[in-house]
């Protein structure tokens, strides 16, 4: 039997060369991190240089240190966290509704040819439509309410998620479907055991893109709709703008950026884990 062991398999069975596993993984994290840190440092340096050049007054364009100081101040206030929590809650709600709706629609389109020709065509149009275009409609329909904001987020995220899942379902290897059917999986069981898992990598890609759209839509909507007593992130951004408080404005922008990046990297981690498990990653997996 030994003759049949693939060479790459044998090498992966053998203990990895020398170095301590913890140190190795720390080194890997560092090698992924330093280019990003470098980019941040570069942006901060350029920013500081522009401020030093005296192109704009300190009030119109504060330096990075004063903005960081302001951010630290914000971070020590409870109200700020309440605002972040409100925004994240809206994002989560809208995103969850979008995901459920997208799954239902994508499966219908995949299963029913007529749905593909009708709803499928509409979906392509929706995907290219900026979701903020839904806002006036949402406000007239639902007033300046939580529901209006949710509607805009859903319309932003759902088409991208559905498109990802649909392309995953459409591109399942036909041999896997034959195998599933030959093993006796039919209808729903074929979806559960073969098609959905096979489509999962593309689906996660769609979820990731859907999050980016949801987050953008939410920020646009929050800038324009005041629907709660608490100041959401978008609302804080808006009021900082009205008060000409550039320090606060930049501090909030940093928060928006960081939240976007953190959630996106969570999806990235999920994506990598799934691709590794599915054997779609080459090299050292």
């Amino acid at each position: 039997m030994a003759a049949e062991l693939a060479p790459e398999l044998r090498s992966s069975v053998a203990p990895a060369s020398g170095t301590h596993p913890v140190r190795r993984s720390a080194a890997r994290v560092w090698s992924g991190l330093w280019p990003k840190l470098g980019a941040v440092v570069l942006v901060v340096v350029i920013w500081q240089l522009v401020v030093w050049s005296g192109w704009r007054s300190q009030a119109a364009l504060p330096g990075p240190w004063s903005v960081m100081g302001r951010l630290a101040g914000d971070l020590s206030q409870l109200d700020f966290y309440a605002g972040v929590a409100l925004t994240l809650r809206r994002a989560a709600l809208g995103y969850a509704i979008a995901a459920v709706a997208a799954i239902v629609v994508a499966i219908l389109i995949a299963r029913i040819e007529l749905a593909r020709r009708s709803v499928g065509a509409l979906m392509v149009g929706l995907q290219s439509m900026p979701s903020i275009a839904w806002l006036p409609f949402a406000i007239l329909l639902l007033q300046r309410s939580e529901s209006a904001i949710t509607l805009v987020v859903v319309m932003g995220a759902a088409p991208a998620i559905a498109a990802g899942l649909l392309s995953g379902i459409d591109h399942v290897h036909p041999l896997l479907i034959r195998v599933g059917r030959a093993m006796g999986a039919d209808g729903l069981r074929l979806y559960r055991h073969v098609i959905i898992p096979a489509a999962l990598p593309a689906f996660v890609g769609g979820l990731k893109q859907g999050w980016a759209f949801a987050w953008r839509s939410l920020m646009s909507a929050e800038l324009l709709v005041v629907a709660a007593n608490q100041a959401s992130i978008g609302q804080q951004l808006q009021s900082a703008g009205k008060l000409f408080d550039m320090q606060q404005l930049l501090a909030i922008m940093v928060v928006i950026f960081v939240i976007g990046i953190v959630v996106d990297s969570l999806f990235g981690t999920l994506d990598t884990a799934i691709r590794r498990r599915w054997g779609l990653l080459g090299g050292e997996a």
Partner: protein
């Protein structure tokens, strides 16, 4: 039980399968007739385009015949050239899924799956995913999965075509052992005449375009046969001649 009492595991009667290709009608199979006895190991050789894969698809119920009848008595399992394992499941998971779809209770599945992988000499590799296995090992898992389906008839579509010579030799032995231990009936499609003579009780030679049984060879050599034995080479040589003749006539 009625099926078991019958002598034939598989019968094909004047089977025709046509595919539309543009406005043309292509005959993949035209009036094919043959039978396979219960427990028999039959190989089908033919050039590419002789409708061999179509034949297996019809027998497995994945394609519809345009005319005639194809009937399998009992359960069918298919094995393809690509192992077609589900890449997100481990070797064990792939076998377990076949058991689940067959309706085996959850509590019994795991130990049964372990036993089946042990039977194809993959003990210790249960937790590997397909991309972590060699081509030969993947086909062993596919074999275990087919056994998990508790099939009476195993349909194999050039299963070892992509393997290196040594893995292929080992799998020939393995398949022969499993076949002789069980009451399996095997219909094995290949384009390799030596492989067909190595494994089959009978070899059916298919014509090209449309496919039909042109010739039948009964192989009386004792088992296990060696791919390199001169007796085997003589029979395989005759079949290859026949195939060449069919191909030059066909085109």
């Amino acid at each position: 039980m009625l099926a078991l009492s019958e002598k034939h595991a598989l019968s094909v009667e004047r089977l025709s399968v046509a595919f539309s290709h543009g406005d043309q009608l292509l005959m993949a199979l035209d009036g094919t007739t043959f039978e396979v006895k219960r427990g028999e190991f039959v190989c089908v050789v033919g050039a590419s385009g002789s409708g061999k894969s179509t034949l297996l698809n019809v027998l497995a119920g994945l394609d519809r015949p345009s005319g005639g009848r194809a009937h399998v008595h009992g359960r069918v399992a298919l094995i393809f050239q690509e192992s077609a394992l589900l890449p997100w499941l481990t070797a064990l998971g792939n076998v377990e899924l076949a058991l689940e779809l067959r309706g085996v209770r959850a509590t019994a599945r795991k130990s049964l799956a372990f036993d089946l992988l042990d039977r194809v000499h993959l003990a210790g590799f249960e937790k590997r995913r397909p991309h972590e296995l060699s081509g030969g090992m993947k086909q062993r898992v596919a074999l275990a999965r087919a056994l998990a389906q508790d099939a009476d008839v195993l349909l194999m579509d050039e299963p070892f075509g992509a393997l290196d010579a040594i893995s292929r030799d080992l799998l020939h032995l393995e398949l022969e052992r499993i076949w002789s231990e069980s009451r399996l009936t095997i219909l094995f499609v290949t384009h390799n005449a030596r492989e067909a003579v190595r494994l089959g009780d009978r070899v059916l030679v298919f014509t090209s375009r449309p496919g039909r049984v042109a010739h039948e060879v009964r192989v009386e050599l004792p088992r296990p046969r060696s791919l390199d034995s001169p007796e085997l080479a003589v029979i395989a040589g005759r079949i290859t001649e026949r195939l060449k003749h069919e191909m030059t006539n066909g085109s």
